[in-house]
Symmetry: C2
Subunit: 406 residues, 2 copies
């Protein structure tokens, strides 16, 4: 196998691409002073931006603002905070967004529609705008070319681990870079449940192509992971491209575009994996590979049904290869499949062959399911449609965390 | 309020209607000798039968058999067992059903197509047909007019409580009766997840009307409850009507039919409630009343989304009135709703009024959510569509039970 034409950068983050600064700190949204709750990403030169937003009908105020301004030509900054979702809290919430964006734009000397904003946390609580506004000048003062990690910390809620990454690649012989930070944890589900992901890059690319590449990357990554079956009101993925690398511009669908798109997908995939891995109470991550469906849509239906089945997810928690539940979930998906051709294996250990259990392999499979992460391959014997999903187990810890959140 | 023209019978069961005998005992499917694992319901005179079956594409062998014979004119018996689902276990499973039914029919002197059969338990395990067949003559010998409770015990798996009930009503001035036993617990979800319900009645009714009444009753009860989001391969509801009461026959859609239909619905509702109440690890039962939707379909979508939201269900476990999650779930349903007109209350305690939280009422609501069962009323302010759903909390106990089932 050839090495891919790109590589992960050690300690990479949103500040790895040239021309991006970032910061993060505690402004007082969260009670504990040790916890960061505000972040800023800034590029001195204007960027091309693209974004995807939650499909939940209820959308938080910051999202409504960002949806409105994202089609503008130029953007300079992403402003974010955690601890309060600023959602379903009346018109004051809308006002809070406007006044935070105005404060930032005024200090940075940019236009308000050049700012994208995202917030995450508890729904339905008044947003502490005074404290937040007071923090904004500090966020600006702390902007730094090594500020990626601080920014990554400022968007976390119940996450246990900071999520950041960067990839270097070559376009026209020149080194370019794509960096990302993310927030995941609870409610992570296809169709973008509570998750934020901010991506920066120093490539030069047209806005339509950036949008296209992002849509592609999100569909195959963030929209194919499952921790629970809920959708958040606050999810979004933002990408800023500032063209500060010395590489030729990407302005048509050619090999440079495809390489950039693949790298964007790769970094989203890594972020999605980290989110599932760090999901509330998650102890096992399962990459579900469904093949043999009539078409990709049917493959996705099967994967989604299994990935979200509470019985499947509890079975993973117990490292119990109860393959009957997998078959029942396939059946529940409503997709046509051929039981007699169905194959199921876990990291290469075959537990169902031609629709029948291989009982002798179950103890081996049990050992695989005890690993922190593994692949489960399910062939439903009907055709060539396939898909890949990342899912997690459902543990007592998930329930404990979510029983008393507010 | 007028009393309904029917009443629950104390200690009522499937043997409450005239002419029905039942039995239950341990034949050796389950390991523990203390646990019943086989049941029989029998009517000496032939019955009219109706049934509904799981929509899962994978169906257990007993269901495939019952689906084939249920359209036959006359039925005499329901044979059931627990501990083994007899599903996805190869052709031997099919043979096991045939040979069990033949054994029963031979001893009872009835035709094999006059027997309905249902089984529940672990999927993918060879069915212990020798032991089961040996138990069948014993089941017949033990048939008794007080055997309802034994039969109710013989179908339980992880259920904690026996589920049985009977209702007496008058048709044409004559007393008639409807009795039921059921098995629920895990995987209980709309579209009939693991649940068995057997209903008997001594009314005289035509087969088409019995089918119609059953479909109506199931749609509004068993298909509107949620413990988890899975569908079983073995679910079914059977009803036998033997005409042994001295009441006029129901042969058209008139007030007698409607009364019978309502009673059938009532007994199904009671069984559904008992199933949710006794669901795996359930500590709180919530009756979700959604009103104000554009139409009943949209009301059902909203109710289903909330009832199956893991975040909602964990919130019930913690008795935490985190109304933001309810609003997020309404939004995730994709149904159009008016946040400014949205009202949410728990047993009369209003927590959201015109889309805004009534913070002063939250402590009171917390007390309501500590009750074992309560109603939650959600008005989404758009129209007159409404529905009712029964759901439960998601507890650490559910996870523990299901982590190590096989």
């Amino acid at each position: 196998m050839k090495n891919p034409p790109w590589e992960f950068i050690k300690n990479g983050s949103v500040t790895s691409p040239q021309g991006f600064l970032a910061s993060g700190l505690h402004v007082g949204i969260k009670r504990s002073k040790k916890k960061y709750d505000a972040s800023l990403i800034f590029s001195k030169v204007p960027c091309v931006a693209a974004a995807t937003f939650t499909t939940n009908r209820v959308k938080a105020w910051p999202l409504l603002y960002s949806m409105k301004v994202v089609d503008h030509d130029q953007h300079h900054a992403i402003l974010a905070s955690s601890g309060n979702a600023n959602c379903v809290n009346g018109k004051e919430g809308k006002q809070a967004v406007i006044s935070a964006v105005e404060e930032l734009a005024c200090h940075l000397g940019i236009a308000t529609n050049q700012v994208l904003i995202a917030q995450t946390g508890l729904i339905g609580v008044p947003f502490p705008i005074t404290r937040y506004k007071r923090g904004i000048p500090k966020l600006i003062r702390r902007l730094h070319e090594n500020g990626g990690r601080a920014a990554a910390k400022g968007i976390l809620t119940t996450d246990l681990a900071v999520k950041e990454e960067a990839i270097a690649l070559r376009i026209g012989g020149e080194r370019v870079c794509v960096g990302a930070i993310a927030k995941g944890a609870g409610m992570v589900h296809p169709n973008m449940a509570t998750m934020l992901c901010f991506i920066t890059t120093d490539v030069t690319i047209s806005k339509p192509l950036l949008k296209r590449a992002l849509r592609h990357a999100v569909d195959d990554t963030f929209n194919k992971m499952a921790i629970d079956n809920d959708q958040s009101t606050n999810d979004c993925v933002f990408v800023l491209a500032n063209g500060q690398a010395n590489a030729p511009a990407i302005h048509k669908i050619d090999k440079d575009y495809r390489l950039f798109r693949d790298v964007l997908e790769e970094i989203c995939k890594r972020m999605a994996y980290k989110m599932v891995h760090d999901g509330e109470g998650v102890t096992h991550v399962c990459t579900l590979k469904v093949t043999g469906a009539k078409n990709p849509t049917e493959a996705e239906k099967v994967a989604r049904q299994i990935a979200n089945s509470m019985l499947f997810k509890t079975m993973l928690a117990g490292a119990d290869p109860n393959w009957g539940r997998i078959v029942a979930a396939i059946g529940a998906s409503g997709v046509s499949f051929d039981l007699k051709q169905t194959q199921i294996s876990c990291d290469g250990v075959n537990i169902v062959n031609h629709g029948r259990v291989r009982a002798l392999n179950l103890p081996k499979a049990r050992k695989v399911l005890q690993r922190k992460s593994y692949e489960m391959h399910i062939n439903i014997g009907k055709g060539r449609g396939k898909t890949e999903f990342v899912t997690s187990d459902l543990t007592t810890k998930y329930v404990t965390i979510n029983s008393c959140y507010s």
